[in-house]
Symmetry: C2
Subunit: 362 residues, 2 copies
């Protein structure tokens, strides 16, 4: 951090958000001890917070700062969507390493040997704003620091929904249909492509200890379809409008966003709801053409990626059968993938009958 100070950094960040600081009468953003947001009778405030940590959630050699900014906002706003809420404000804490790794990916220039910290921050905030601006959400505060080693990000998002109307994980009932709002497995496949390349002899960087660094040439090895899957991993789109529509349509009993894969996430719904099990029909899982094609070429199991891959950030929900049509109309596309049952455990039907597991960050 020799070339950028704390106040410079805050200035660089807030400058990009100046046009949407005035988020409404009585709202106060960056610059004081706290942000201030007026409350309104009949609404609930929703709060979520998520860590993104270098080498744990991303590699600076692979994700561009723009993509990292986008994803940092997206995964948090997705939690608001998962309650059927409207995102209202973001708060960004970022600890920047004194020195970036010798190779950092930059959108403009591919992988370059060095990126000035100030440029990196501008690009990061550009991505953060591109995603949050899509939903009209201002950045109202945060914290900045130097980091002794790795890059750390923590984002907090506040949202709102009508009082008592948030769709929780705990409302599933036996007989409910289990649904998802879009294709599964793309993000997991994208991550696998990145990690496989990182582990290959061409992709590794013997000198730096980083898990992956690659030249323009090796970046070029991905087909267009593979690049699409990688983009789905780096640039997820939270299902905000879908979440709100599903809350409003009635009959949706439980909802969450898919961050760890449905094998793991569905278990959270079952546990929270005190219901016993689910039958899932693997053949009903929505798979993208890109996922089918790339799995075919590479000999991968698309169902395993769809079930355990994680980070799709689609919505997973349970809905009363009689409300299905209304829910379907509300969001345009909704795939029924199974049913909540009173028989213990999750049964994966129509596939290889593995006991699919979600991944955890430990």
């Amino acid at each position: 951090m020799s070339n950028i100070g704390e106040f410079d950094l805050i200035e660089r960040i807030s400058a990009q958000f100046r046009d949407n600081q005035a988020n409404g009468a009585g709202t106060l953003g960056i610059g004081d001890d706290c942000a201030v947001l007026p409350q309104r009778e009949g609404l609930d405030t929703l709060v979520t917070t998520d860590l993104l940590i270098e080498e744990r959630h991303f590699l600076l050699s692979d994700i561009s700062p723009w993509q990292l900014g986008w994803k940092s906002a997206a995964v948090n706003i997705s939690d608001i969507a998962a309650m059927g809420g409207r995102p209202e404000a973001t708060f960004l804490s970022i600890a920047l390493p004194k020195k970036f790794p010798s190779k950092v990916h930059s959108s403009g220039a591919g992988t370059t040997d060095s990126v000035p910290v100030a440029d990196w921050v501008d690009e990061f905030i550009g991505g953060f704003k591109a995603l949050s601006g899509r939903f009209g959400v201002p950045l109202l505060g945060g914290d900045t620091s130097a980091s002794p080693d790795k890059l750390f990000i923590n984002v907090t998002v506040l949202g709102s929904c009508p009082h008592g109307a948030a769709i929780l994980r705990s409302g599933a009932k036996a007989g409910d249909l289990v649904c998802v709002t879009g294709p599964l497995g793309d993000a997991g496949a994208g991550l696998k492509l990145i990690l496989d390349r990182a582990a290959s002899p061409d992709g590794s960087d013997a000198s730096g200890g980083q898990a992956s660094c690659h030249s323009e040439r090796s970046r070029g090895i991905f087909s267009l379809q593979e690049q699409t899957l990688i983009r789905r991993h780096y640039e997820p789109v939270p299902r905000v409008a879908e979440g709100i529509a599903l809350r409003e349509c009635g009959g949706v009993h439980a909802m969450m966003d898919i961050s760890d894969g449905i094998a793991s996430d569905l278990r959270h719904i079952l546990k929270a709801s005190g219901v016993l099990g689910a039958d899932i029909d693997l053949k009903s899982l929505p798979l993208s053409d890109e996922l089918r094609a790339v799995c075919g070429e590479r000999g991968l199991d698309p169902y395993e990626l769809a079930v355990s891959g994680g980070e799709d950030y689609e919505l997973l929900l349970t809905v009363a059968p009689e409300a299905l049509e209304k829910a379907r109309q509300a969001v345009g596309s909704l795939s029924v993938i199974g049913r909540i049952t009173s028989e213990p455990g999750i049964r994966w039907e129509g596939g290889s009958h593995k006991d699919y597991q979600g991944f955890t960050h430990f």
Copy 2:
């Protein structure tokens, strides 16, 4: 993190807070995609978030997990106090290193060679809860992860105050009296004692690369007065009741908490308020007996510590002269240290006429 998983960690943390999960009708805490807090017409929500990073804000070899938990909650709740707000909920993000440094301080046992991660977490949450429980504030959410290297903490606190009533930094007027709610310099002196010992040959740990590790014996070199100053650094008490009383009494124009030292913090008030300067009388700064005594013994300048030391977490405010008596009655103890002027810059009167600077985290 070989001996503790993510769900275990969340369970350990939420278990200690189970008794205050039910924070009120309609409030939902740990366990879903978001926390839910009902809004009320006529109130504003206050939001603050702060990073605490190993080797940047603390050393694991010196601060006990209990103290670190306490301080993590305290510095954030202090930001709510600085607006005259009431803290309502905390959110804790924590990334734990796979391996703790070879020497970690533990309250119970002094510095020991190794502390199991689970014990460290329990003690950390104990301190976090001791501070936040003092103000009746529940932990309603957060995030956990392994960290590839250093320990990272980010705390977000939500608070509330009547709509439009938060005391901002931007309201100071020429002629206002500059006041503080309690002694200055203690925390800065405590930090200096810790850093000096860390830098001494006896205090350094040649093997581990950590800045400081010390045995029971070397811990014993601090006098009782010195230990008091160190406690003021590690265990600050946010001035919540004082902040609320000062908001309610009327006539307080600007307020913030003292995190970087009044030299730096007062400049924030001047800049935000668009006022030009201040005259500060060094002889009026409230200094504790412990600070005077320790500075006398060690040949330190207590005024420099009071002005630039930082982390006292007292409140710094400007008040209309005619409202001083009411403000004083509201908080019991209030020291007038100077006056806002229309002459540019801060003039430090009665001391060595240095141009005192606050510190920054870069």
